[in-house]
């Protein structure tokens, strides 16, 4: 430290002072607030887009300073890192001071014990050395003690207690430091992928399989566990009589490794499938209706598509796309549809009135023309609105279909609503730092308990032989930190010192140890 130039040292001292820690903590709290009040991109990108659309230049300014990704922003990281540095700088000297304090003897008795917050006096007929021995024996089991002979000839016993307070505090802060490292490491080393899986299908844990995949910068391809959900055998939602959900469960067959044997598991909301290196969660669910399309003179084609729920009763929206023979034929078929598991049809508009399935209806708008002339990536849940707007995709028919019903298009094609399946969003997550973080968190709480419940206190006993009179025993006590019930504790200490000076039965008043003003018995 002393090798560093002076300004650096000053800066470092500033950074590691309690006051700076206080300011940094305040900044940390303050910086988090916009993260809860403004929409955040990692949580909800569509909300951010609509905020930007409605807030003009103000929105763009917020965007530029990172207000839509507060916890990934430079300024949040800056506060985090400064706090981190401050914490390290504060802990290193405190740890060495503590290590030294553990080796050092309790400090010398102050000259005027009667000036301490807690004090009292006793006298005894015993010689000073015997009193000192007895006092030490009384305190020993719980207190660290040392007896010193002072220049005046008096013997002073110093006793200290409550070292685990500082130990607890250090354990807390060190674990906090470790936790911060692990959280940052977890960000870099974790990945997460999610995919909408319809009953009867499956997927493998590979970045490209997923609908959405996020991974930290340090995730190597080798770190992605070779796990396959071979099949979603069934998804079951159970509801109570009042319509509230009772249980969601996904019954899956999975396998691990290149030639792992297929195994079976049931994933529910609070019970993911936990395998070495990956965890599989049930995140969401919905319906996948099935239609069969029969063009004149051709074999029927059956398709099942996942629909997105638009409300809590699972009125769901989606699309089916059947490309024609070739682009020039201009005879693609697109079905834009609403699926209602328990339908209510009013004025031709279909909505669902319960999440359970009872006589479901598929409301179909049928289009013909060109679905996607450029072959660009499209949403699977809607027909391309620009194709409809330009008239390249024309609406040719509309009908509400019950299961088994069909509708005919002008060219003779028949569209039949043949059934439905359910889908589940499965999410695969991996974070190699989690277990270590849990250990750090447990240590944090343990340290806190030690730090906030233990109090440091010191007691001194000075024993002075007085020529021609009884030995004078003065006791003083001092509690550091908030002293709790130290006055009461001190009182019991004095009482036990007093009784140690006359072992055996309670002596008559003023026999061996006379009370001058201490103890209340």
């Amino acid at each position: 430290m002393s090798l560093l130039p002076r300004p650096v040292r000053t800066l470092w001292r500033r950074l590691t002072s309690m006051r700076t820690a206080l300011v940094l903590l305040f900044l940390l709290a303050l910086a988090s607030v916009p993260g809860s009040l403004l929409p955040q991109r990692p949580l909800n990108p569509t909300k951010v887009d609509s905020y930007l659309a409605t807030h003009g230049s103000w929105g763009r300014l917020l965007d530029r300073i990172g207000a839509f990704d507060v916890f990934g922003s430079i300024w949040f990281s800056a506060v985090y890192l400064l706090l981190f540095a401050s914490l390290i700088g504060c802990l290193i000297p405190r740890i060495s001071v503590y290590a030294r304090a553990l080796r050092n003897k309790p400090i010398k008795a102050p000259r005027h014990l009667d000036r301490l917050a807690e004090n009292g006096e006793l006298t005894s007929e015993l010689p000073a050395s015997e009193v000192a021995a007895r006092v030490t024996r009384t305190l020993r089991p719980r207190w660290r003690t040392i007896a010193r002979t002072e220049d005046s000839g008096a013997i002073a016993v110093s006793a200290e207690k409550g070292y685990s307070r500082e130990a607890g505090n250090l354990i807390f802060h060190v674990s906090l430091l470790v936790a911060l490292v692990l959280i940052a490491g977890g960000k870099l080393l974790s990945y997460q992928g999610s995919i909408v899986t319809t009953e009867g299908t499956g997927f493998c844990n590979r970045p490209l399989s997923y609908d959405a995949f996020h991974s930290g910068r340090w995730v190597s391809p080798g770190a992605i566990a070779p796990l396959c959900i071979d099949n979603l055998n069934s998804f079951t939602a159970t509801y109570r009589a009042d319509g509230s959900p009772a249980e969601f469960k996904a019954d899956v067959t999975y396998s691990e490794g290149l030639d792992g044997a297929p195994r079976h598991d049931v994933i529910t909301v609070n019970h993911p499938l936990r395998r070495e290196g990956a965890r599989v969660y049930l995140i969401n669910h919905g319906f996948s209706p099935t239609v069969t399309v029969t063009r004149p003179g051709r074999a029927p084609i059956t398709d099942t598509e996942a629909f997105l729920p638009a409300d809590t009763f699972y009125t769901s929206e989606g699309a089916f796309k059947f490309a024609g023979k070739d682009v020039t034929a201009n005879n693609d078929i697109g079905l834009s549809a609403i699926f209602a598991p328990t339908p209510l049809i009013s004025k031709g508009v279909v909505t669902s009135i319960a999440p359970t399935v009872s006589k479901p209806v598929l409301a179909v708008l049928a289009y013909q023309g060109l679905l996607n002339p450029e072959g660009a990536p499209q949403s699977v849940y809607t027909l391309d609105p620009t194709q409809i707007a330009t008239g390249e995709l024309k609406r040719v028919a509309a009908k509400n279909l019950s299961m088994g019903q069909s509708m005919a298009l002008p060219d003779g094609t028949v569209v039949k609503f043949t059934g439905y399946k359910e889908w589940a969003t499965l999410q695969v997550s991996h974070d190699p730092t989690q277990t270590a973080l849990l250990v750090a968190a447990i240590l944090m709480v343990t340290g806190l308990l030690g730090s906030l419940t233990v109090r440091r206190r010191r007691v001194w006993v000075r024993i002075t032989e007085q020529p021609g009179a009884r030995t004078l025993v003065s006791v003083g006590g001092l509690a550091r930190n908030d002293s709790g019930n130290f006055p009461a504790e001190f009182e019991t200490i004095v009482a036990s010192v007093q009784s140690s000076l006359h072992p055996g039965a309670q002596p008559p008043v003023a026999s061996t140890a006379e009370k001058i003003g201490a103890g209340r018995n």
Binding site: R19, S36, F490
Partner: protein
């Protein structure tokens, strides 16, 4: 098992009974407070007599110097109650005793209401905001009664604790949700562990905030009376509060007690989130505000150990912490949408 609607409505009757009884208790505390005019004169002079029960070794007689380097400002003696030297009049005492009796009776109704709700729905009784509010209020009441057992001399401050509790009881009514089973997301034993620890911490921190508010009034009174001003806003209240040093210490101790519980509660939440949502922390608004409140209370504990930040500044930080927690409880549940939409208010 189905919902037992008979038991559920019995639980609601008990909630009404508890609220009514607390109302009587508040009337009693107000009466005690209003009739308790003594202490004022003694308080304005810094000389304070130590209460015998807390006097420690000096009670036996005349030990020179004992207490002369006491804890600070006007109080040199016992940590509690030093500011109030004498008990109030008999009338005041009678009101106070009645108030405590009503508090105990109300707490029994309250406890029964919560327990029976739990039996009626066959799960832990804190699955939505109505139930959670009732539990926080119950913890605060029990914390208050616990304080009274240890420090009966604080009884005359009951008004300041039971008023917020009464408010919570009424608020619970506005959040009322009919007895129902849990949605799948809440079907986890972590509901019992996570929510109970958070509710306990919040109940205790509510008490701490009430004490801190008293501290601010009292320390202002002490500063002004040291300067010779005995009138002004809050002077009447200030004169009857315990010494600021005692209030400060009591506020610290309650936070020191609640903070590890709150920390553990947040960690339990993270463990549950890992099992339910696939990540232990996702900066969901509820999580963000829990973090903000935690950091502010950490600041409070730091401030108490930092020169220049003790006293009033630390007290304001304590109130900010409570404000963040309260914001998380009400505003985040009701206004801001997130994953934690357990409130059952929509």
């Amino acid at each position: 098992m189905a919902i037992d609607s008979g038991l559920a409505s019995f639980s609601e009757t008990l909630w009404t009974a508890a609220t009514g009884t607390y109302l009587l208790a508040v009337v009693g505390y107000t009466g005690e407070y209003a009739f308790g005019k003594t202490g004022r004169i003694a308080d304005t002079s810094p000389a304070v007599v130590r209460e015998p029960a807390m006097a420690g070794v000096s009670s036996g007689g005349s030990v020179a110097g004992h207490g002369s380097t006491g804890y600070g400002s006007t109080s040199t003696g016992s940590p509690y109650g030093a500011g109030r030297v004498q008990r109030g009049s008999d009338a005041s005492r009678r009101w106070g005793v009645a108030a405590v009796a009503f508090t105990i009776l109300g707490a029994l109704f309250h406890l029964a209401s919560v327990a029976i709700r739990g039996i009626a729905v066959d799960r832990v009784p804190w699955g939505n905001m109505y139930e959670f509010t009732l539990v926080v209020a119950l913890v605060a009441t029990l914390a208050w009664l616990g304080t009274l057992v240890k420090m009966p001399q604080l009884r005359y401050l009951g008004l300041f604790v039971m008023m917020p509790v009464l408010l919570l009881m009424f608020l619970a009514g506005t959040f009322y949700t009919k007895a129902s089973k849990l949605v799948p997301a809440l079907q986890s034993y972590w509901l019992a562990i996570h929510v109970s620890s958070i509710a306990t911490a919040e109940g205790i921190l509510l008490t701490s905030a009430a004490i801190t508010a008293m501290y601010l009034v009292r320390s202002r009174f002490e500063r002004r009376s040291a300067a010779g001003i005995t009138t002004g806003r809050f002077a009447g209240v200030g004169s009857r509060l315990p010494a600021s040093a005692s209030l400060d210490k009591a506020a610290y101790r309650t936070v020191a007690f609640a903070f590890p519980i709150y920390t553990a509660g947040v960690i339990f939440g993270a463990i549950w989130a890992e099992a339910a949502w696939g990540r232990y922390w996702g900066w969901d608004p509820k999580e963000t505000w829990a973090f903000v409140a935690w950091v502010v209370y950490a600041m409070y504990l730091h401030a108490r150990a930092t020169a220049g930040w003790k006293g009033n500044r630390a007290a304001f930080i304590n109130l900010f912490g409570f404000a963040a927690m309260t914001f998380n409880f009400f505003v985040v549940n009701i206004v801001i949408s997130g994953l934690h939409s357990y409130a059952g208010l929509n």
